[in-house]
């Protein structure tokens, strides 16, 4: 199994450009998440999804959009990129469990620079 895959690994955007970060998982997990991690910091939740067709905002959703048309894929869209969006982006998935956090499996990350 590949687990969680993310593309691209690196990207440089100019201010105002748009792009989509791809995320795919092959573990049939219902829950998927997008986080950003600024240098030396913890993770901040951007958006999450509990199943195909269902998405919700996290702590820092402004400037981003998501969709979840299938169980496997959870792309993150950046519209009108700004320097504040320079960060490392991680996608994660977990299985549904009752009453307790499931283990999150993370992708390798996408390092994005906006100049």
């Amino acid at each position: 199994n590949a687990g969680v895959t993310q593309t691209p690994k690196f990207r440089i955007l100019k201010i105002g450009q748009s792009m989509t970060l791809q995320c795919t998982q092959d573990m049939n997990h219902n829950y998927m998440y997008w986080y950003r991690q600024d240098p030396g910091m913890g993770l901040k939740l951007i958006y999450y999804s509990v199943g195909a067709g269902i998405t919700d905002k996290g702590e820092v959703p402004n400037g981003y959009n998501v969709s979840r048309s299938t169980t496997e894929d959870f792309p993150l869209r950046l519209e009108l990129a700004a320097p504040s969006q320079t960060s490392v982006y991680f996608c994660a998935s977990s299985e549904a469990r009752t009453g307790v956090l499931g283990e999150q499996y993370f992708g390798p990350g996408t390092r994005l620079t906006v100049t």
Binding site: L45, F90, V100, L101
Partner: protein, 111 residues
Amino acid sequence: TQLLEQSPQFLSIQEGENLTVYCNSSSVFSSLQWYRQEPGEGPVLLVTVVTGGEVKKLKRLTFQFGDARKDSSLHITAAQPGDTGLYLCAGGRLGTYKYIFGTGTRLKVLA
């Protein structure tokens, strides 16, 4: 607002020393996890604790969930260079699907 504060933020120690990392909150969590992240990679789960006062051991790592389920600690005995990395705690609440991550503790163990 960061709901989970970790301390210390940075820690550099010699091989063989012991250390404790703390994860504190004013909020109650139904479960708490600890992850380790190495440079250029995503975090990897170390442990999940769910019961107040629970203690779990993973080789030289000991994890404890506070009695009130508002805090947790990670103790490493006889640290080794392979323990180097960013340690993150993450809390979750019943009825939600979101993980709240702590601020992180960056550990460096020198040979």
